[in-house]
Amino acid sequence: MQALQHLISSGWPEPLRLILFLVGILAFVGLNAAYLVWVERKGAARFQRRPGPTEVGYAGLLQPIADAAKLMSKQLIVPAGVDATLFRVAPLLMMSPALMSLAVIPWSQNLAARSVNVGLLMVFAFGSINVMAVMLGGWSSRNKYAIISAARVVSQNVAYEIPMLLVVITMIMVTGTMNLSEIVTQQAGAFWHWNFFRVWVNPLMPVTFLIFFICMLAETNRAPFDMAEAESELVAGAYTEYSGMGFGVFFMAEYANILLGCALATVLFLGGWQSPVGSLLGNPQGVLGNLLGIFWFFVKMYFLVFSVVWIRWTFPRTQFYGLLNLSWKILIPVSLVTLLLSSVMIKLFHQ
């Protein structure tokens, strides 16, 4: 404990830090991807008043491991006539941006792999790679369904990238920084200091959060915007030709992206690792403070993850024109209004 405390306060030796965060983030994402599937299945079941997985392990807790073992033991079929290189690269290309972006997320006071000054920019720079991955996967599959799905995904993601970035620009103007750790530090204190409730800067702040959340759902191809994998229309969408762990990695990447999106929403709007009750529980530093920070971060993040599952099992898939209408006719104008409003408010009252 003492040694750990010393390490945290004095800064970690660079190679150790690198390895630790690499392993940590990989393990975290892997475990989360596996167990978010479990959460999703259990959640889906409960929303439909079924018990969900119960057979493998207590409450089906070993189900993800069994699934992973099954997927890994399957052959990775590369169909004849596909672009084999792109076909193999696409799942990795989907997974890696999420992993890289998680490096700038501040999990707790001193717990961020890298506190990059342009962290937010980095996340969105990597975030747009993910569209290309689905596109490549669909294109290289040499399959009609996959190509149709890929085309839809691209137009969807382009449409939703705009309001998302407008919202993020609003947030950058409000906070004045792109450093995620800095953004969290600004929201110190009880929950009314969170950006979500900073209505004196921008009265439309909760709306901004909603737009961000909706765009996050669309960017991660989650229901009701799951055009990428529209089972009922396009077999398995862009992933039709994938088998075994190729499909598994796409699946994991989906959950990794959800995790990243929820983590980002937590950092930007819900005060990151800050306690919602301020310093009511004291203001511990060091290991204890970090643990508490992680705790609050996870509470907020997993609440958002649960909401994602909740939304998925509540709403049917939107039709494609409905999806684009929502973005171009509602989200983009509203996010422009929030951008304008907050810039005017900042200019007038918060100079």
């Binding site: 959640g43 079941a45 079924r50 119960t54 509540t314």
Partner: protein
């Protein structure tokens, strides 16, 4: 502008309503019956294959091998043998073979029986890989059950489990028993008597 704002408001409201409903369902108990581990109790008027009715006083079968059921059966799936035991006034059944592979569950036998000595059982987990499992001696099963109950120190005629088809022992015409634990469930109302001319069993019938 006004219309589109109104549309946004109503749309948002409907989304919230939907989410409220689903979260309400989320916290309600599940309704699934985990089949191999538990199964539903069949309603009282479920018409499974037939079984012999026990005399509530002696614990033996009520049937005295009049063979009316055998004659009534359109598919010839019932074979009854009886014998007159020493000192008894009536014959009593010694063998009652039901070939369930042929039975179409028409119920003519139950209708034909004048003394209410046979009735429908509540057995429904009747899966097996062997054809022989479906040729069952109902009398032997009844006796085995009685003997097993006596071995456990219970007296079968009174009070409760008169004719229960609860997990037949492997020796009796073995119907592959699905491990069945009855689910606590209220039985459907049994106010109206079955149409068949037969006294209703007074004792509660155990589920399979």
């Amino acid at each position: 502008m006004k219309n589109s704002l109104k549309e946004i408001a109503t749309g948002f409201n409907s989304l919230i309503t939907g989410m409220r409903i689903t979260i309400g369902q989320f916290f309600k108990p599940t309704v699934t019956v985990q089949y191999p581990h538990e199964s539903l109790k069949m309603p009282d008027r479920f018409r499974g294959h037939i079984e012999l009715v026990r005399d509530p006083e002696t614990g033996k079968a009520l049937c005295f091998a009049c063979k009316l059921c055998e004659r009534a059966c359109p598919s010839d799936c019932i074979t009854v043998e009886g014998a007159k035991l020493d000192g008894a006034k009536k014959k009593s059944v010694t063998q009652y073979v039901l070939d369930f592979t042929k039975c179409s569950l028409c119920g003519s036998c139950v209708e034909a029986c004048r003394d209410g000595a046979i009735r429908y059982s509540h057995a429904y987990n009747l899966a097996s890989t062997k054809k022989e499992d479906y040729v069952m001696d109902l009398f032997k099963r009844l006796e085995d059950e009685r003997l097993a109950a006596e071995a456990r120190g219970e007296i079968i005629p009174t009070p409760a489990p008169v004719v229960a088809q609860a997990s037949p022992p492997a020796s009796s015409a073995g119907i592959a028993p699905a491990a069945a634990a009855p689910v606590a469930q209220t039985a459907p109302p049994t106010a109206e008597a079955p149409k068949v001319d037969q006294p209703k069993p007074v004792t509660p019938v155990q589920p399979n």
